[in-house]
């Protein structure tokens, strides 16, 4: 095309520069839209990576059995699925006895209650588990001992406490042998867990572990929250899973009324949830980008109106309609892409800044988000430039020249 792209581009650029303030205001919407897409998607992506990292800490040989059956693929969370049949202590016991590929099994009961010692109270999460829990979840008592090993002792009123609980209730003193009321029932502290921090949503330092039967009676729970197990080796994880499934089905009259989860399952399930979260955040931010597009259209329409005479003149000087169209389209696209570039700078800069101010915040600038937010902003400029550009190109040169 004669008088092609580069001329139209330089004309568009001259116009944008000539009306600097208005162009900046128009671009501001695009800038904020692109920046928020990048920031929100980065947050969502960061959250996903964070969760994935946490699940990875679970270990590649761990299996979790929860009551109730649901698919582990798809969007729903199997962990909250309703259960008709309970998992029992007997189930857990049989799992440990009849599954050769399984190394350790611990039933888990979860309760929330007030623990009390030496006149101090603290609301904590209490887990009812067994001796093998330390094997499965890789926790140790680095002071005193862990919970009793023998099945006959699963109902003893003893407790292993987290570091934080020790600090808050016993002021950091040796708590071994001291009384600890768990939801009103007296237990005796036999051990303190080594510092571990958060794992899978539990702050292990702020946790109290008691034998599983004791927890069932304290919290009046018949079934189990879950059963955790570990395979002898990561390679035997599938085998261990099959053995557990067969064992439990036999015990439940052939019904698969439980769900078996491993690290991969949870990764993909939570990954899917967090992916949709990321998409939702990105989409909300994209709406603001769309709104910015209407701003671009509005300004371009005003610009066409103001420059009617100029358009008529350009036509009189030999500009074809397609050349006028291209000029205004490029002007809108330039507003979009300049705004987009500034938005990328602001978004990435904001993410880096946030990371500096809050180092703990999971934040990962996703290159695909940067690329798509920028392309989207250019596209917004182009799409919303079409109507004004067409209007400009369809002006009657005579009427346009006479326009006041």
């Amino acid at each position: 095309m004669r008088a092609g792209l580069s001329d139209a581009a330089s004309t568009a650029w001259a116009e944008i520069r000539a009306s600097r303030f208005r162009s900046l205001l128009t671009m501001a919407g695009v800038v904020l839209g692109v920046a928020s897409v990048i920031l929100l998607v980065s947050l969502g992506d960061g959250a996903k990576r964070y969760v994935e990292k946490k699940f990875a800490e679970l270990g590649t040989n761990v299996l979790i059995v929860v009551p109730g059956h649901s698919e582990t693929t798809g969007g729903s969370m199997p962990i909250v699925a309703g259960s008709e049949h309970l998992l029992t202590l007997e189930d857990a016991w049989e799992m440990s006895r009849r599954c050769p590929a399984v190394k350790a099994v611990s039933p888990v009961v979860v309760g929330n209650g007030t623990v009390r010692a030496q006149g101090r109270n603290r609301d904590v999460t209490v887990l009812g588990v067994t001796w093998e829990f330390q094997e499965v979840r890789n926790v140790r008592a680095d002071m005193g001992v862990f919970l009793p090993k023998r099945r006959e002792e699963w109902g003893r009123r003893v407790a292993v406490i987290g570091r934080r609980v020790q600090r808050e209730l016993f002021a950091g003193q040796n708590p071994l042998g001291r009384r600890l009321e768990v939801a009103g029932v007296v237990h005796r502290v036999v051990g303190v867990m080594e510092a571990k921090g958060y794992s899978l949503g539990f702050d292990f330092d702020d946790l109290v572990l008691i034998p599983v039967k004791s927890a069932q009676s304290v919290f009046n729970q018949e079934g189990l929250f879950e059963v955790v197990a570990s395979a002898r080796t990561p390679e035997r994880l599938d085998e261990a899973g099959q053995q557990i499934r067969a064992c439990l089905k036999r015990r439940h009259n052939g019904a698969e009324d439980f769900t078996l989860l491993n690290q991969d399952d949870m990764l993909s399930t939570f990954g899917a949830i967090l992916d949709s979260l990321t998409w939702a955040l990105g989409a909300i931010a994209a709406i603001s980008l769309l709104v910015a597009g209407f701003g671009v259209m509005n300004i371009m329409l005003a610009s066409v109106g103001e420059r009617t005479r100029e358009i008529g003149l350009r036509m009189a000087l030999g500009a074809r309609r397609s050349q006028i169209l291209l000029q205004f389209l490029l002007e809108a696209a330039a507003l979009g892409s300049l705004g987009g570039a500034a938005g990328v700078a602001l978004g990435v800069g904001g993410a880096v800044g946030l990371h500096l101010v809050f180092p703990g915040m999971p934040l990962a600038v996703a290159p695909w988000a940067v690329v798509s937010a920028f392309s989207f902003s250019v596209g917004v400029g182009l799409v919303f430039g079409v109507v004004p550009a067409r209007r400009a190109s369809r002006l009657d040169p005579i009427a346009a020249l006479r326009h006041e």
Partner: protein, 226 residues
């Protein structure tokens, strides 16, 4: 020799909400290369319509129009744009310069649409500005120029593409008489160099400067005097 303007029975009828308005009624006009003609008439006489048709901004509803030998009566929008780009130079009463561009950039504008390579545009625009006596004002914006200088820039812009026909619509209408005189003197010198000129005006004094004078009234050319 090919006539610059060869119009026969040129007519333009507007449809204004069902009412037909005959702005131009069967005008015949022949203009040879190198002529300098003025078309005079009061407002509403049809002279603007005639200028729009002759300048290929509009197409007639009847009649034929050959510009430089080429029949342009039935051309498409793009075809008309092409003809305007190559064969017609416009000078307007209100100058119509782009305020944000320098004199040089304003004069380069027709070359952009004619597809002249960027490196050739500058020298041709400079040449055209020198021709109208503004060789020392090329970097100025319209707001930094006087009315007469602005109209000279507009004349340079009209000339830069070496058009077959230079069409001026009330070129002195926004200028005081002394400056208007200077523009008309410029026209005379351009005509002496061979530029074919058609000036549309309602001002008898402006028309008197042209060797050939036509009068238009109620959409008809009523007199044609040399």
């Amino acid at each position: 020799m090919t006539a610059v303007i060869d119009a026969k029975g040129l007519a333009k009828t507007y449809d204004l909400g069902g009412e037909k308005v005959e702005a131009l009624k069967a005008a015949d006009l022949l203009v040879q290369p190198g002529e300098y003609a003025a078309i005079m008439g009061p407002s509403g006489s049809g002279k603007s319509t005639l200028m729009n048709l002759l300048g290929c901004l509009d197409t007639p509803t009847a009649g034929t129009y050959r510009l430089d030998g080429q029949d342009v009566s039935g051309l498409s929008d793009d075809g008309l744009a092409e003809i305007r780009s190559r064969k017609v130079g416009f000078v307007f009463q209100t100058f119509n310069l782009l305020p944000r561009f320098t004199a040089l950039a304003n004069v380069e504008l027709p070359l952009v649409y004619a597809g002249v390579a960027p490196k050739d545009r500058r020298s041709r625009a400079e040449e055209a500005l020198a021709r109208v006596g503004l060789g020392d004002r090329m970097g100025h914006r319209p707001s930094e120029l006087s009315g007469g200088q602005r109209q000279r820039v507009a004349v340079a812009r009209a000339l830069v593409n070496r058009p077959t026909l230079l069409l001026a619509d009330e070129p002195t209408g926004n200028l005081d008489s002394k400056v208007g005189d200077e523009i008309l003197t410029l026209f005379e010198s351009l005509n002496a160099q061979g530029v074919t000129l058609l000036v549309i005006t309602h001002d008898a004094k402006v028309a008197a400067r042209a060797p050939r004078k036509l009068e238009i009234l109620d959409g008809r050319i009523v007199s044609d005097r040399a």
